[in-house]
């Protein structure tokens, strides 16, 4: 089943879209919270472009036979993967090209979030604007 394009409103008022399959982000995904609700998905960033802004959120994986958005902490691992020649920088970590950032499942909480802004620079790529929860850089 393809990823949804239907927006909904988070409790804080922001618009979001559920992500249930691996997804490569595009310009149309800017400004909408990418709410990952299936375990072990990878969100792939496009090659960095100045001003592109993405928010990836851990929405938790719904337990079987439970209502939508009744998910629990530590149910979803989210991987954010930059383009091979880009890096994600910030979070007190020195950036490196093609290194993923992973919202570790064991410590993940529903609402963990990573906000990224593209700078279009070949020496960097994506600058962290805000982080909630524990995200680890790929070794």
């Amino acid at each position: 089943m393809a990823n949804s394009t239907t927006l909904f409103t988070l409790p804080d008022g922001r618009k979001a879209v559920d992500v249930t399959e691996n997804k490569t982000l595009a310009i149309t995904d800017c400004g909408v919270v990418q709410n990952v609700i299936t375990d072990a998905l990878t969100i792939t960033l496009p090659a960095t472009i100045v001003g592109y802004a993405y928010t990836i959120r851990n929405g938790g994986d719904n337990a079987t036979s439970t209502p939508t958005r009744s998910s629990t902490d530590a149910s979803t691992i989210v991987t954010v993967s930059p383009n091979a020649s880009d890096m994600i920088v910030g979070m007190e970590v020195t950036g490196a090209n093609d290194k993923d950032f992973v919202n570790t499942k064991a410590t993940a909480q529903v609402g963990d979030e990573l906000q990224l802004l593209g700078d279009g620079a070949s020496a960097t790529g994506w600058i962290v604007q805000k982080v909630k929860g524990i995200w680890a850089k790929q070794a």
Binding site: G90, G95, Q115, D119, I127, K130
Partner: protein
């Protein structure tokens, strides 16, 4: 003792790092709340690079033998210094080149915060203010 690089989760979910010594911010400090827990520190901004963004928060001085996050109001003054002749502007706070922005100790509260994003035109734009911050000419 050098500044910590260990992140922890604030009550609102954002990730933070404690600042216990004067600190010059770098690219890797973007996106993490810089939680100042020692009085009278200066946080120095790097030369503005578009899209660099920082959040500096007053964490208060931790009570003696108290747990992390037990800081008290009126215990910490924070000074934000731009690089060279750059300046910070926004939120009805307009500074001149090289001016400092100070979270005044007497009126400071734990959780006071300033958000900054770099702009090529001015240096730094203030995107968020909590608490009383005043410019200090140099």
């Amino acid at each position: 003792m050098a500044n910590s690089t260990t992140l922890y989760r604030l009550k609102d979910g954002r990730m933070a790092v404690d600042v216990t010594e004067a600190k010059t911010l770098a690219l890797k400090d973007c996106g993490v709340v810089q939680n100042v827990t020692i009085d009278a520190l200066t946080i120095t901004l790097p030369a503005a690079v578009v899209n660099y963004s920082y959040t500096i928060r007053n964490g208060g001085v931790k009570a003696t033998s108290g747990p992390t996050g037990s800081g008290s109001d009126g215990s910490v003054a924070i000074t934000i210094a731009p690089d060279g002749t750059e300046y910070m502007s926004g939120c009805e706070l307009t500074t001149d080149a090289s001016d400092l922005v100070v979270n005044t100790k007497a009126t400071s509260q734990v959780g006071d915060e300033i958000g900054l994003v770099a702009s090529t035109a001015t240096g730094w734009l203030i995107t968020k203010l909590k608490g009383t911050w005043a410019k200090t000419s140099v």
